[in-house]
């Protein structure tokens, strides 16, 4: 190339022969608007110190050319990627069909669609976790959101020291207390559901708890305890399940086998509550006549049960949006609380009438 004749500033050439699609550049905008590239850049980035006239001229040119900034170039020059990674462990992805998750992701995506950030979905399997780590640390993203079904798995926690990361779900161990996370207030939700059981006149309230090595399992059990202790009621009616309907049914049978009176049950999720239904019906008991049942999560299992299950609804969409919000704040250097707990709300249905 002899003289300064770049890819034709101003109006793009119609025929190039090699390039099928011509993407207008900032330089073309500058030429058309009769200003420098720097000025166009300022307008695009809405810098305050640009004459309204010039702003108009530039915007005009942008409009006419249908100009869209090139992210790669912008990112390279500014050292910001405007990309947020959504890390989904593969084991979680398998249960991606979990409506809860799907909605969380949707909340994230929707929130970000109003910002200049872009969402990058990464499935990280065991075998690829190293690849994921490198990708995250390679300066390819401005921050990451890690959602894990086994919430509490903060295996990416240490990356948080060098990259803004927000987790969905609280960590299991306190050592990881420095990480940022957004979670639902499991204990409060469980306490509320249990309180509702008490309010409806129940006095012998059991619980089918979740695995005690998962934060939601622990917290929901504690919520149940909190309410019972507040009312001076017996806290011995505890059986553990693994969040599946089958485990719920078995836990309920064990509970009934104890031979002590039971007039209410709080299950740590709707699946287990559905299981409890079967066990209760097996014994010829009625719901809510003999035993009132409450669940947690608010999903298909509860809504289609007979009678419909009273349950704790999680604001999954808002949860996702909050994760995104916290992360963006973090990226932009604002100071944020490490812990964000979202409130749940109780959905009273026929199972606790």
């Amino acid at each position: 190339m002899t003289t300064e004749t770049p890819s034709t500033p101003g109006i793009p050439p119609s025929e190039d022969g090699t390039r099928p699609r011509i993407v207008p550049t900032l330089e073309m905008v500058a030429a058309l608007a009769g200003v420098s590239r720097a000025t166009v850049s300022r307008v695009v980035n809405s810098s305050p110190k640009v004459t309204p006239q010039v702003v108009d001229a530039v915007n005009n040119a942008i409009e006419r050319l249908n100009y869209v900034p090139n992210r790669a170039a912008r990112s390279l020059a500014s050292r910001r990627t405007q990309v947020i990674a959504l890390v989904v462990p593969e084991t979680t992805a398998k249960v991606f069909s979990d409506p809860f998750f799907a909605t969380v992701v949707q909340g994230i995506a929707l929130y970000l669609s109003d910002t200049d950030y872009t969402l990058n979905m990464l499935i990280s399997s065991e075998t690829k976790s190293e690849k994921t780590r490198r990708y995250l640390m390679g300066g390819n993203v401005d921050g990451a959101i890690v959602v894990s079904h086994h919430s509490g798995d903060h295996s990416y926690a240490h990356l948080g020291q060098s990259l803004p990361i927000v987790f969905g779900g609280r960590p299991l161990i306190a050592t990881e207390a420095e990480s940022y996370f957004v979670d639902v207030d499991n204990a409060a939700g469980a306490a509320g559901a249990t309180a509702h059981l008490v309010d409806s006149g129940r006095r012998h309230i059991a619980t089918i708890a979740g695995p005690q090595d998962m934060p939601p399992g622990l917290d929901r059990l504690n919520g149940w305890r909190r309410t019972l202790s507040m009312h001076g009621l017996d806290q011995s009616l505890v059986e553990i399940g693994d969040f599946t309907p089958e485990s719920g049914a078995e836990a309920m049978r064990r509970l009934l086998d104890r031979g002590v009176p039971i007039d209410g049950v709080f299950a740590a999720n709707d699946q287990m509550a559905a299981g409890a239904y079967s066990a209760i019906y097996e014994r010829g008991l009625s719901i809510p006549g003999d035993i009132a049942v409450a669940g947690f999560d608010d999903n298909y299992y509860g809504s289609t049960a007979t009678p419909p299950l009273t349950t704790v609804h999680q604001p999954s969409h808002e949860l996702g949006a909050k994760m995104a919000e916290v992360l963006v704040a973090l990226i932009e250097g604002k100071s944020v609380e490490h812990v964000t707990l979202m409130p749940t709300n109780l959905l009273v249905r026929a199972s606790t009438l």
Copy 2:
């Protein structure tokens, strides 16, 4: 800056004062390995013409520095972004919790995780569709996958002329025939389910069809027709629903109200089949004793029904992977079929014994 002293090639400086995190560059790798940047680039891009020795040396340096290529720079220089957009219309995102969808997305993500492409999730609402378009056409992605719940919505179809795009689900109108899409063979699946009904001895087979302005609704009805006509059976027992359980129940009632014998029903999805169950039970009829029922989709509604529903399973994961595969092929200039139909398989359960 006076002389050529860039960000310290070779070993990065520990203290910079301003930069908190030092991301190694290709230049640093080159310095450490004692070769030129071009060579490092070649190794990174696995060019064939590099001496094994040099390859080792470079890889060594990469390892030691924990080097990760900067996507922005690479993209800027190569004019390829290595980014694939996943466009999800917001109306679809609402039903993102549809397990079918979730699994498709997972299939896409998982397939891409084995390539060098990255998945960019875009929620495109009515109000933001223009933003989405600009983003897609702004040279920010190499291609796009558009999944829509109302499969058949190919409103992004015209972009396909300038950007590789693959759609999930066939277009509704033939005018859009030039677009690429991956779909399940709805007609064949429906024909198979109906054939199974015939094989089980049923001779008066009705269908609860889906909306006739959606490809799956149309195709599944045609599949049912195909089988009946092949066996010379009556094709008049058709009622239309809208894919909801309620509509399925109503359609079934209308069918039963006709007062003609019916011993089998093919519903265009599991939800409607579930609805049909209620209507059948209302009339005091049994399944499969009096009426055999088959559905389509294979989801929760069918598997938890009593008796479990015979249904057409969709390879949703594979469907997603295929979309990604087709798109990547398209991006890389390979010639691909416009239409890719994936086979379904029939899941025989108790509802058609």
